[in-house]
């Protein structure tokens, strides 16, 4: 054999590395998590409102608001009957927050797509159940692909009940996949599902407050006002609200097609509260004719919070850092759990947490997220970080910090999130090239009970012993925020 050929064969056959089982499993978990996150997000393009973004610039907001106010004034004058409804449109989100169960049925339409033969794409059904009381849900997701082989619609369902949830794929290959989450994650997921459903039905609160009444209609004997609003991204929203009670009876999302016509893209024709779900709605058994790709015992675990953290390594450190989970507090400050750990040698990092105190400076981790700023193009206000506590789970430390703004937070910051400002405390950490990192609070904590449930609950999730640090309480955190505000006030 020629020498060149031998080199080729050696490279081809003998240069081979094999991932060890620990790496293999860890990567597989990340890969499957990434897939699942992507599948949860993917239905978004089908519902015109879900992918909306808040207007970015102040000028756009002012101009848009002025236009809406002008139109609203005209409309309210014209439709005098609706000028003083017996309810407030902005109370609508509370209907979902207070419900025991929420049931939404309807159809997705695809007005912007055609089948290869020129016919309309068949609509896809929506049938979503949220059992808020028992932390269970079942919701439909729809994916549409458009390629050379035509348009295809894929419908699947995700059922969540307790620590387990399954994905039922209704495609050609009827299959079920099991996943496993903690009770906390499940509760958080359901809460976010409610938020998602709310977003699908009527957008956010800003959207609602821009609505005007454009007509009335009787649905199943109920006299309804029809409210309408246009968003900044080409979408139009309509809600049918009972004229007497303000109850949401129907909702639609519309899109303007190439011809200039507004077409219904999603029609939520049935919206029910507090009705009993049919038996089997939240069953985790594969439906008849479906095969299970894994089992509850081999379910894929879902980690809490944001994963896929950026990292780097050098001779001394094997390092990952980034946000895990954030909550806004009612006073505008932010509680953020972030990680900055060395999975190969936790004790190396443990020393950096020695001596840190509640309300004191953040631990001098090699990369320190010392402040936040709104990620909306503005650099104000600056949210400075203070240490609250740290937790440790399986050698991974999580730092829990309170970020207090030095001014009034902008109203859209909940939607746009916060950019995490960082600095290097050790020279070697300069090797870490950081992308723009943002975090969005899950929601706003209003009470001590919510704080205990969500913030302390998250801390407990990321602690080996499953308990939150004892010295962190809602009152202490609020007092700390107040103290900081007082000290920085001009």
């Amino acid at each position: 054999m020629k020498p060149k050929k031998k080199v080729e064969n050696a490279i081809r056959n003998k240069l081979r590395f094999t991932a060890r089982p620990t790496l293999r499993d860890r990567l597989l978990t990340d890969v499957m998590n990434a897939r699942e996150e992507s599948m949860q997000i993917r239905p978004v393009p089908c519902g015109p409102g879900i992918g909306r973004r808040i207007m970015k610039t102040r000028i756009a907001k002012i101009a848009s608001a002025a236009a809406v106010i002008a139109v609203a004034a005209l409309a309210l004058t014209f439709w005098s009957r609706s000028s003083a409804p017996a309810y407030a449109i902005t109370d609508l989100p509370a209907q979902f927050e207070q419900a025991r169960t929420i049931h939404v049925q309807g159809w997705h339409y695809f007005p912007e797509h055609m089948m290869p033969d020129g016919s309309a794409v068949p609509p896809s059904p929506i049938d979503n159940w949220t059992d808020v009381e028992n932390a269970r849900s079942r919701y439909t997701t729809t994916q549409l692909t458009s390629g050379a082989d035509g348009v295809k619609v894929y419908v699947s369902e995700v059922v969540r009940d307790g620590p387990s949830w399954i994905r039922i794929d209704h495609g050609d290959r009827r299959s079920v996949t099991y996943f496993r989450v903690s009770e906390y994650q499940q509760k958080l997921g359901v809460r976010q599902i409610s938020k998602l459903i709310s977003g699908q039905l009527f957008g956010d609160i800003t959207q609602l407050s821009n609505s005007i009444v454009v007509g009335d209609e009787r649905i199943d004997g109920v006299a309804c006002d029809i409210w309408q609003s246009d968003d900044a991204h080409g979408g139009r929203w309509r809600q049918w609200l009972s004229a007497d009670t303000g109850r949401l009876v129907r909702a639609q999302a519309l899109r303007k097609v190439d011809s200039g016509e507004w077409k219904v893209a999603t029609d939520y024709s049935l919206i029910e509260y507090n009705v009993e779900p049919p038996e089997g709605t939240f069953s985790l058994e594969p439906p008849e004719g479906y095969t299970a790709s894994n089992s509850p015992q081999t379910a894929y675990s879902m980690d809490l919070g944001k994963n896929g953290l950026p990292g780097f390594r050098d001779e001394h450190w094997y390092y990952y850092c980034g946000p895990k989970l954030a909550f806004a507090l009612a006073d505008g400050s932010i509680v953020l759990g972030w990680q900055s750990f060395d999975p190969m040698d936790a004790e190396k990092q443990a020393v950096l947490f020695e001596g840190v105190t509640f309300g004191g400076p953040l631990p001098k981790l090699p990369v320190e997220f010392y402040a936040l700023i709104p990620d909306n193009g503005s650099s104000e206000p600056l949210y400075t970080g203070y240490h609250l506590a740290f937790t440790r789970k399986q050698g991974r430390f999580a730092e829990w910090s309170l970020y207090v703004p030095d001014g009034t937070p902008p109203p859209d910051v909940q939607a746009t999130g916060y950019e995490m400002l960082y600095r290097w405390n050790q020279e070697f950490a300069r090797n870490f090239a950081f992308d723009h990192t943002t975090v969005k609070p899950e929601f706003t904590i209003e009470t001590a009970e919510e704080f205990d449930e969500w913030v302390l609950g998250a801390m407990a999730e990321l602690a080996d012993d499953g308990t939150a640090p004892a010295d962190v309480t809602y009152q202490k955190v609020i007092d700390l925020a107040q103290q900081v505000r007082t000290s920085v006030a001009p």
């Binding site: 031998k6 080199v7 050696a10 490279i11 240069l15 094999t18 790496l23 990567l27 890969v31 299959s175």
Partner: protein, 182 residues
């Protein structure tokens, strides 16, 4: 057979099949790790690259459309990530004014990969090649990519790629100095 299986996997993956994704991962993890290791000679960095490649791939889901070969697609993704990594490393070295560090072995107890002594020796030799030659040799021999596709990736002519391959093998032959005979 492998290509037929890949076509099926692509089809299933596009339809959201987790089993297809898991199979693709199992099938190509080691070869992509080998490729990344060969290109970087740094196990931790190779792990990061392969992690990012598969995680990004998993996120494609139903939006995934590929006419070519799956192995070629993944290998190209690895190469692109490796190039990003190199660029970043160069910037960091320039910014800090440090000397470039020699390739190092992982120190963590949870080793990324297991390999034979001969594989390590081959990898060290491959690591001595210039980046362009190393890419060509590894893409050709470890990812079975055609010279034509490598040329597209490197944005050079096919003759240049074949030249790099030839020079690369010559250098390897002299560096290995008969070791491959064993």
């Amino acid at each position: 057979m492998a290509i037929a299986e890949d076509e099926l996997l692509k089809w299933k993956f596009r339809r959201g099949s987790p089993e297809a994704l898991a199979r693709i991962y199992e099938k190509y993890l080691d070869s992509m790790l080998t490729l990344a290791m060969g290109l970087l000679n740094d196990r931790a960095a190779a792990e990061d690259v392969v992690h990012d490649v598969f995680v990004s791939f998993a996120r494609l889901g139903p939006g995934f459309r590929l006419r070519g070969r799956l192995s070629g697609y993944l290998a190209t993704s690895v190469v692109n990530r490796v190039r990003d990594h190199r660029r970043r490393s160069r910037r960091q070295v320039q910014a800090s004014g440090r000397e470039s560090r020699p390739a190092r072995e992982s120190v963590e107890p949870d080793h990324v990969a297991s390999f034979t002594e001969q594989a390590a020796q081959l990898n060290e030799a491959v690591a001595q090649l210039p980046d362009e030659q190393r890419e060509v040799v590894l893409l050709r021999l470890k990812a079975d990519m055609k010279f034509r596709d490598i040329a597209k990736l490197q944005q050079v002519s096919i003759n240049t790629v074949q030249g790099r391959y030839r020079y690369g093998l010559d250098r390897l032959r002299s560096m290995l100095n008969g070791e491959v005979e064993k």
